[in-house]
């Protein structure tokens, strides 16, 4: 079939919007039909989930739980960035340090944060510190590892140019090493944020009594309210998407855009 010779930018934008919306609508319809056909009285239809969300919002619980989860993620994640980026830059730069610490990092890294839950409860009790610790653990490794790789993969020509201009150590670090690594560090941060969000929900299922993870477990235990269970899941998904979109905005700055493949 011949393609239209001139596709306006407007039409392209419209299409890029219409396609995912279309898939979403199909999914909701399919979901609805599946519940109706199976005749399940426990699993909710999309409409019932929507009503559940409204109910939570009216009670003020929706906002409260979202804020509680975001609060924990913010702290755990901020700590991970504060530790992981400088550590990664240093280990990426000093190969002796890398040799010394890398095996330890590689041993800790594959341990799922879920496995740390008993330890977190032991150390921090049922306080906010426990999920924050778990989120920290989950995100500090991807951030550190990508920061290390960012420095190690830096094109040597930038370093040599900088040396040629007689930069001091501090200037070299701030103006060249950090700048050259930033795109890859941001990618690491984006991946880590996804993992952090994954983990907060899991952590809240066990250790605390607020947040979206708690909502899911609580709705299930207190009266099999599966509409609220799924409502919690929907919120997790939507907020995860929003977080990712937000971090992606970082990749649009001129200072880092060069580091990503052209799209």
């Amino acid at each position: 079939m011949p393609r239209p010779a001139l596709r306006t930018a407007h039409a392209t934008t419209l299409l890029s919007f219409a396609l995912p919306v279309g898939v979403g609508v199909m999914f909701l319809l399919g979901w609805h039909a599946a519940v109706r056909i199976s005749g399940s009285d426990l699993f909710p239809t999309p409409v019932e989930v929507g009503r559940g969300l409204l109910e939570l919002a009216r009670q003020g619980l929706l906002l409260k739980y979202v804020v509680a989860s975001l609060f924990r993620v913010s702290w755990g994640f901020a700590l991970a960035v504060a530790v992981g980026v400088p550590a990664g830059l240093l280990l990426g730069w000093y190969s002796r340090g890398f040799q010394a610490f890398n095996p330890m990092i590689q041993i800790f890294r594959p341990i799922s944060p879920i496995a740390w839950i008993p330890v977190a409860i032991l150390w921090f009790g049922v306080t906010d510190a426990a999920p924050i610790f778990l989120i920290f653990l989950a995100s500090v490794f991807p951030i550190t590892v990508s920061s290390i790789a960012a420095v190690q993969n830096m094109q040597p020509v930038y370093l040599r140019a900088a040396q040629n201009f007689g930069l001091s150590r501090g200037e070299l670090f701030r103006q060249v090493i950090l700048r050259a690594s930033l795109p890859q560090i941001i990618t690491g941060i984006r991946i880590a944020l996804g993992v952090a969000w994954l983990v907060v929900v899991a952590a809240e299922m066990i250790a605390v009594n607020s947040g979206l993870g708690y909502l899911i477990i609580d709705a299930r235990n207190a009266g099999k309210r599966y509409d609220l269970v799924v409502a919690g899941m929907v919120m997790i998904g939507v907020i995860g998407l929003v977080l990712d979109l937000l971090v992606r905005q970082l990749e649009k700055f001129d200072e880092v855009r060069w580091g990503y493949a052209r799209r």
Binding site: V157, A161, Q163, N164, F165, G166, E171, R179, D254, W258
Partner: protein
């Protein structure tokens, strides 16, 4: 001014004592050269050898074999030779990014101990910082200067390389030729005495390359810098240089030096130009029948 005795004392190394042992006449010649170089030569390369250690013992790659050369102040010298012969290696030693296995390099009469902002390198793989726009790249070597002076210098050199209007553009938005212009402007803005260039136009298309060469010669005439320019392209060398140093295959020495005493701007189909070009082709042992514009 340096005294011969001074020079000898300031440059004790194995290579030197070997040379002295071999022939006292040699020493005399070198001393004379160094003495003269302290007045005139911007770059003085003496008996430089370099061997890269191989992966295993006995795998060493001898790249440079007693290379000696000199570049006068304000001179435009091209270094040509077959690919992989050690041109970049030699330039990196002169630029202070590599240390020779033996021999010495004096720049402005001083031994080289690493890169120096008074001599700026223009890299084969383009060393413009992609996270800075054109303005900040060109101003990179001006960190100590006042704001007004910075701005004036930046504007001056951006105009000189013909990039006025692109101050806020980022390297990824520029063509390869424009990026190379940014790097040249950045080098010039730092006001070095010497510019080292390692095949700076190698990645550009033919027309852009011709244009860049013409602009480089114009800039060099205006700025009176010393330029040591590495290329594997014989035509390029004849178009640009006052003198062409021809390197042999690895392990490389300077095989011959050809003076290009042609007035600038150079006429690329004048018999004198073609004569020089063909002379270098012959020295490098290449048949001229393959094609008139063949480059190595």
């Amino acid at each position: 001014m340096m005294e011969p005795g001074n020079v000898q004392r300031s440059t004790p190394n194995v290579q030197r004592s070997n040379a002295e042992g071999a022939s006292s006449l040699d020493v005399g010649r070198w001393t004379l050269d160094v003495e003269r170089s302290s007045e005139r030569a911007a770059i003085f390369i003496r008996d430089v050898s370099l061997t890269f250690p191989g992966k295993r013992l006995g795998d060493e790659i001898a790249v440079l074999d007693h290379v000696s050369a000199r570049v006068a102040k304000g001179e435009f010298v091209c270094l040509v030779g077959p690919s992989g012969c050690g041109k970049s290696t030699l330039l990196n030693i002169v630029g202070g990014f590599l240390t020779a296995s033996s021999g010495e390099v004096l720049v402005e009469g001083q031994p080289v101990h690493g890169p120096d902002p008074r001599r700026i390198f223009v890299f084969q793989e383009n060393g413009v910082f992609p996270w800075l726009n054109v303005r900040d790249n060109v101003g990179f070597g001006l960190r100590g200067k006042s704001k007004e002076e910075r701005e004036k210098t930046i504007a001056h050199y951006i105009a000189m390389v013909g990039l006025t209007g692109f101050e806020d553009a980022y390297p990824r938005e520029l063509s390869g030729g424009m990026r190379q212009r940014v790097e040249i402007a950045r080098a010039l803005a730092a006001n070095p005495d010497i510019i080292y260039m390692d095949e700076p136009f190698g990645a550009l298309d033919f027309i852009t390359r011709l244009k860049m060469r013409a602009d480089l010669v114009r800039i060099w005439q205006a700025e009176k810098k010393t330029i040591l320019f590495v290329t594997h392209d014989i035509e390029e060398a004849v178009q640009l240089a006052d003198r062409v140093l021809i390197m042999s295959k690895r392990p490389a020495t300077i095989q011959q030096v050809v003076e290009i005493d042609l007035a600038r701007p150079r006429d690329l189909d004048s018999p004198r130009y073609l004569e020089k070009r063909d002379e270098i082709f012959r020295i490098m042992g290449m048949s001229l029948r393959v094609g008139e514009t063949l480059s190595v």
